[in-house]
């Protein structure tokens, strides 16, 4: 997989070595890394035959991080593909801070009171981050969390202080290129009563085999509010192994919108721990797959405290031979009464060879709760097409209209302005891309 033919022995399971932040690791980071390296060495590699989580993603069996090239150790100029993203549609977003990182570490931006590069934040604000880094996503949680923890160099520390209403969004761009592997780490703390908007982009260029392993740890304290937006615009040969873990305190609010629009294959975890009474999590995500893309998304709404509300909606359109896998678990722990939780996954199959597997599940250990799940998979409805056509809209435009409409409630959940427009544009462009391959002109099918 390496373009340069240099392998990365530091990422091999039997020989994994820990990385260091630019300028060195604070002691708590160093010891966390040792634990992570040990977990990475000792835990068995994920297996599609043994692990339920990986049953439908056998690509993991053959994935070997050591085959990606050794990341450069010295900092470099921001590569063109990343500059393009920074200058892209979200340039109109009036961001208060922009941080860019890649496999070599942090490249530009940061060090505002709200957003600092990982290296600066973890060393200068060690007291704050000691209690968060590696505690929301513990090193032994999953293989790729362990690997990220052992190897992160780039990323960000984002913090809204007590009561602070941060006016401008924080924008983080995490990239990987040159056939290598990157392990960006983001730690986010929204303190009591504060509010913040955080935008993260996972990107890589087309035409090269890269591995992107982001881990995001979030704590939203009592009465605080985080609006979190994640865009994935990765190249056609990039493998993504991402984990987003969120912990909500009493009356905390978390709004997540995500758009997965590119990559070769991936596994993404979105976990929310409802730790505080009255906390509220709303997540709406979308994914568009074409060609042979394979998107495996697994979500967890873990109701540890009672009286909390969680709602998750994931909409997927797959064309060509693309495949979507979704597993969404609502877990209501013992005593978490008055829980209100909902998970739904809606799939639109744009070609007869596209596939979507959906498996929402409930695990309920309390008796006074309202939990529901829903899942659908269907094709573009013939009656909808005829209705549009009978009003003068061409079949192709009608398909696009119907598919765009399918995503409307997710798009409308993105914060108003450039973020929402970018999501809409991303959807339109992804659909446009599928037209030449004929994916949008399949024969009749019914919902």
């Amino acid at each position: 997989m390496s373009e340069l033919g240099i392998s990365a022995p530091t990422l091999a399971r039997d020989r994994v070595s820990v990385a260091q932040l630019p300028g060195g690791d604070p002691a708590f980071v160093a010891s966390l890394r040792q634990a992570a390296a040990a977990a990475y060495r000792e835990e068995p590699w994920p297996s599609s035959t043994r692990d339920e989580d990986w049953r439908r993603t056998p690509q993991v069996d053959k994935l070997d991080p050591a085959t990606y090239s050794e990341p450069a150790t010295s900092a470099r100029e921001t590569p063109e593909y990343l500059s393009e993203v920074v200058r892209g549609p979200l340039a109109e977003l009036d961001a208060g801070a922009i941080l860019v990182d890649d496999q070599t570490g942090n490249l530009e931006g940061g060090d505002t009171p709200v957003a600092r590069t990982l290296a600066v934040g973890l060393s200068q604000d060690a007291e704050t981050w000691r209690g968060l880094l590696g505690t929301v996503a513990t090193p032994g949680l999953r293989t790729f969390v362990a690997l990220n923890t052992a190897r992160f160099t780039g990323g960000a520390c984002v913090r809204a202080r007590r009561g602070e209403q941060v006016p401008a969004p924080v924008r983080l761009v995490h990239g990987v290129d040159q056939g290598s592997a990157a392990f960006p780490r983001t730690v986010v703390l929204v303190e009591e009563g504060a509010s913040l908007t955080l935008v993260e982009e996972w990107v890589s260029p087309d035409g090269e085999a890269d591995l992107l392993v982001p881990v995001v740890e979030v704590v939203v304290e009592r009465g605080a509010h985080l609006t979190h937006v994640i865009y994935q615009r990765c190249g056609d040969q990039t493998v993504v192994q991402s984990t987003v873990r969120v912990r909500l305190a009493q009356d905390a609010r978390y709004d997540l919108s995500w758009a997965l629009l590119g990559g070769a294959w991936q596994k993404t975890y979105f976990d929310v721990d409802m730790l505080g009474y009255g906390s509220e999590s709303k997540a709406k995500g979308l994914c568009i797959g074409g060609h042979q893309q394979h998107y495996d998304v697994q979500t967890l709404q873990d109701h540890i405290a009672g009286g909390a509300v969680s709602d998750l909606l994931y909409r997927v359109a797959v064309a060509d031979r693309a495949r979507s896998i979704f597993a969404g678990l609502i877990r209501v722990e013992e005593g978490a009464q008055k829980t209100n939780a909902y998970v739904q996954n809606r799939n639109l199959l744009l070609s007869p060879t596209a596939k979507a597997d959906s498996n929402p599940t409930l695990e309920i250990l309390a008796n006074d709760v309202r939990c529901t799940h829903g899942t659908t998979a269907g094709r573009v409805d013939d009656d909808q097409l005829f209705y549009c056509q009978s009003r003068g809209i061409s079949e192709q435009a009608a398909r696009r209209l119907v598919v765009e409409g399918f995503f409307a409630d997710v798009i409308d959940f993105f914060p108003e302005g450039p973020l929402r427009e970018d999501a809409r544009q991303g959807v339109l462009e992804s659909l446009e891309e599928m037209v030449p391959s004929g994916s949008l002109t399949v024969g009749p099918g019914s919902g």
Binding site: D381, D382, D383, Q384, F386, Y387, C388, Q389, S390, R391, G392, I393, S394, E395, A397, L401, V402, E404, G405, F406, F407, A408, D409, P444
Partner: protein, 265 residues
């Protein structure tokens, strides 16, 4: 798009046989509706009235086996529904389809664009607003997803809004009157009478004479078992009201079994 001259554009249906999934639904329909006239198409359940509307508009499920459908001298057979719409035809559906996520205003914009009638944003919004007002609908319907969670009556009114915005030359209204209360019925009828004044042709498919109290048809046709069995002037409506369809069915030699078989399809 062929430019139709007022008074010369005619919808001509000749010996039309149509099948759906192999079953013959229309068995030789002959019907002529000139532009500028309002015709009513009545008949018992299962007569094939709705199928006729779909066949004229080119729904892919309705296969023309033989015969012809001509509009302004040109055969419609083999033409896509969007082409028929662009030629000036309109079908108001009995059960209008909801398209979640597509707002009414965006749907109408796409429809006008599809017809090559793109207006300036301000003119477009004014036009739509006027028609929504004319049908006594709240302006909030413009930003709602089209037909999604609309009541039956709201859907029917929205069909008439669309007709007024798209300004076709010939409209087929499939049971646009059913499910409307008296006030709504009058509003819809007024909408139809307005476009009638502009010289549009209208074929009203209905079960009831109710709507014909507000819209006086130039001609009335009765359909049963897949063909037209009687045609006449507006007086036919009163006759049907008085005697039902039975005398006409008998005269046409349609036995009760045939009717029952047709209704069960």
């Amino acid at each position: 798009m062929p430019e139709a001259v007022a008074g010369t554009s005619t919808l001509e249906i000749r010996d039309l046989k149509v099948s759906v999934e192999g079953k013959e639904i229309l068995r030789g329909v002959d019907l002529t509706v000139p532009k500028g006239e309002v015709h009513a198409l009545m008949g018992p359940n299962g007569a094939g009235k709705t199928s006729l509307g779909y066949a004229v508009m080119g729904h892919p499920k309705y296969q023309v086996v033989s015969g012809d459908i001509r509009w302004a001298g040109e055969s419609l057979l083999g033409k896509l529904p969007e082409d028929r719409s662009r030629m000036g035809l309109f079908l108001s559906l009995q059960y209008p389809t909801a398209i979640p996520g597509v707002t009414t205003v965006n749907f109408l914009r796409a429809a006008l664009k599809g017809q090559g009638k793109e207006l300036k944003a301000r003119d477009f919004l004014r036009l739509v607003k006027e028609q929504v007002d004319a049908l006594k609908m709240d302006q909030s319907f413009m930003s709602r997803y089209i037909n999604d969670n609309f009541s039956g009556g709201e859907k029917k009114r929205m069909e008439i809004v669309q007709m007024a915005v798209l300004q076709p030359e010939m409209a087929i209204l499939d049971e646009t009157d059913s499910g409307l209360d008296v006030d709504a019925l009058r509003t819809v009828a007024e909408g139809v009478n307005r476009v009638r004044q502009d010289g549009m042709g209208v074929l009203i498919i209905t079960h009831y004479q109710r709507i014909l109290d507000y819209i006086t048809p130039d001609r009335v046709h009765v359909m049963a078992a897949g063909r037209i069995i009687a045609s006449g002037g507006a007086e036919l409506v009163a006759e049907i009201e008085k005697t039902g369809y039975d005398p006409m069915l008998q005269a046409a030699g349609i036995a009760a079994e045939e009717l029952a078989a047709a209704a069960s399809r």
